[in-house]
């Protein structure tokens, strides 16, 4: 049991009202959240400082235009924010940010986080023709019923990490039948509790997430995940399987650019080290008789796997952005989880846990030496 704030209102509206009050009271100076940015109803992350600008906020909109972890890194890359800011983010976005902080790409000071039990999001490509808008009522019905909505991204369908680890406040959404009438915000941290102390909204209660209910969803998601991984395993089949999967990659490197774990200013695979000189080409031609141009599609993909799999949070951004629909997240998540398992590591779970590659134990993995 933790302290919780209960507000008798639609959950999304309640959170908006809470954010407004926090801004009005000067308890915070800015809000990062999803918001409708035009008449068409397109949704984007927005940094809000004036309460009335929250009118069009849609904190729990089922879309991840950009992984917010990446945005928060951009926001605090040059130093901590001196004024307190609150961000409403999805659990994997928060985990992404924590991984970035571990890499000195962000600063947690004066940042507060609201997250929720997460019902998943739709592919960004569905936002193009406003399809997401039309799906909203179906989406919330599924969330209430503790189910996966149809057409969610594969990354979300098979995501078991739908409860945030380090959020100051968690909004209880999944399987909550009355989420459009009542909002329960769990205050997980002292910071969170302090921030809303004596706020004139709703009532303070003791609360907790319904573990049993959430486990039911977890089982469903595990099943989905297994299905997705099995499908990938069937396709991955030696070097030729990889060439089949990645052969249509156009080398846009969008996947790297949107990945919260890929933070390098200049990616190795865009650096001079990855370029071929004319004599490199000649050598390869002698060996192979021909070579794809530009070369290095697999070098890039496998290389990126060595760079990010230890910290991949399975957020789905890479697959979302890929213009040629390569099932990137399914692959990166599958490989990522198996690597993380070796070290009993869940990326973004805890700021204090070192990234496994920068630490070691003297007695371990003896079986690997031959």
């Amino acid at each position: 049991m933790v302290k919780a704030l209960k507000i008798n209102k639609d959950s999304e509206q309640a959170v908006i009202d809470l954010l407004k009050l926090l801004l009005e009271d000067n308890r915070i100076k800015g809000v990062l959240t999803l918001k409708k940015i035009n008449k068409k109803g397109d949704v984007a992350y927005t940094l809000i400082t004036r309460p009335d600008e929250l009118d069009d906020a849609v904190p729990f909109y089922p879309l991840m235009p950009i992984n917010a972890g990446k945005l928060l890194s951009r926001f605090t890359l040059k130093g901590k924010t001196r004024e307190p800011i609150i961000a409403v983010v999805k659990p994997c976005e928060l985990r992404g940010f924590i991984e970035l902080v571990k890499r000195n790409q962000g600063n947690l000071e004066n940042l507060f986080f609201i997250s929720s039990t997460c019902g998943g999001v739709y592919p960004i490509k569905m936002a193009v023709d406003g399809v997401v808008k039309n799906n909203l009522s179906r989406y919330w019905d599924a969330v209430k019923k503790n189910e996966n909505a149809a057409d969610l991204r594969p990354a979300c369908k098979g995501c078991e990490e739908f409860i945030p680890y380090t959020a100051d406040m968690t909004v209880d959404l999944i399987g909550k039948n009355d989420l459009d009438k009542q909002c329960v915000i769990l205050l997980n941290t002292k910071n969170g509790e302090q921030l809303v102390r004596n706020i004139k909204l709703g009532e303070f209660i003791e609360g907790e997430l319904d573990k049993e209910k959430l486990d039911k969803l977890r089982v469903k998601r595990e099943k989905e995940k297994k299905k997705i991984f099995d499908e990938i395993n069937a396709k991955i089949n030696g070097i030729d399987g990889l060439i089949d999967i990645f052969g249509r990659c156009i080398g846009c490197h969008g996947c790297m650019r949107v990945c919260p774990i890929c933070y390098c200013k200049l990616c190795e695979f865009e650096s001079p080290d990855s370029e071929y000189t004319p004599s490199n080409y000649e050598l390869e031609l002698k060996k192979r008789g021909g070579l794809r141009v530009p070369p290095g599609i697999l070098y890039y993909q496998l290389g990126r796997l060595t760079h990010v799999s230890i910290s991949c949070v399975g957020c789905g951004s890479c697959e979302d952005v890929c213009p040629v629909n390569i099932p990137l997240t399914s692959i990166f998540k599958k490989v990522g989880e198996s690597v993380q398992e070796l070290f009993n590591y869940i990326p973004g779970r805890n700021l204090e846990e070192d990234i496994p590659l920068i630490t070691f134990e003297k007695e371990e993995f003896a079986e690997i030496e031959e």
Partner: protein, 380 residues
Amino acid sequence: MSKNEEKKLRKKAAILSAKNGIREGIIDFLKKSMDRNIFDAVLIPMRVPADDSFTYVLIRDKNLLKNAFPLPPVMSIQGGKAVSSITRLGKSNIKIAAVMRPCEIRATIELTKLGQTNLENITLIGIDCPGVLPLSDFLNNPEEGMRLFDDAVSRWDDRIMRPVCQMCDKSSMIVGDLHIGFLDAEKDSFFIISNSQKGSDVIDKLSITPQADISSWQTKVEKISEKKHKKREETFRELKSKIDGLDNLLDTFSQCISCHNCMKVCPVCYCRLCYFDSDKVKHPPEDYLERAKTLGSIRFLPDTLLFQIGRMIHMSLSCVSCGSCEDACPMSIPVAQIFSMVADETQSMFNYVSGRNLEEPLPLTTYKEDELHEMEDTHG
């Protein structure tokens, strides 16, 4: 080269047989050229093993040529980028024929002016271009896409091609060292015509005599270009009304997710580290907050339009309207159409056509003392 010489080189074409189709005919021509050591390798599109897309391959082993696809139904990699990948770090030591569409050759020429390719030992071979399908359309069903494309090409019908292709009035522009023309030819032949000394040398070495007159091809090309030019004006008129004014412009780019795919695939955006990915656009939190406070809220990341307009400023004079950016945009923003429109306007101010001629300097690297007076004191 003087204008006259240029004309002379171009006047007559050599007719080659295409009894088994244009594709076979072109492959045959390339094979013969390799047999005679005119080229050591050929850069040409090939189908990927999964059969769901195409990519450029540098072929040295002649046996691979049979899998070449001189006119693939999609442009998944812009040829200019391919040539640059091979020669950016220095001239090629082997002689390479690069078979590409006209806009890809134009990109290659722009990249050469920008110091990103070295054309020594490269022979550029252009082809009449029927256009390509939108990449995503093709990927939805590659088999069907292939069929539709072949069918459309046989009728030279561009209605299923990408919007930029439908309005491309340079689809048969002779810009390489050699050009392959077939839109006019009888079904069982095509012609090849030289456009430079390099090109003429190839024809000489193959001992084929350029005797054919291409005026009927020219007439046809003119007709097609005219039609496409009309379509271009029409499209731009419509587009202009859609993006006119700040609000419309913002709406057009409202779904941009800042992935910068467009920049990355654009052949003429060659910077290793884009300005808009550099430290220059990363600010301390106070700056972002200050901006938010003056407006009540700002989109985060901010400056989507700054990127788009900035990119226009950086490369619209060299944009070849190839459509790659639009293909790569996961949010289906009509980037290429917009850039193409702006490019037409900026290039025409300098009477410049990107990639038309290697000898024409980039407009911003040169000036005349007496020019552009109409732009002075424009507020007056």
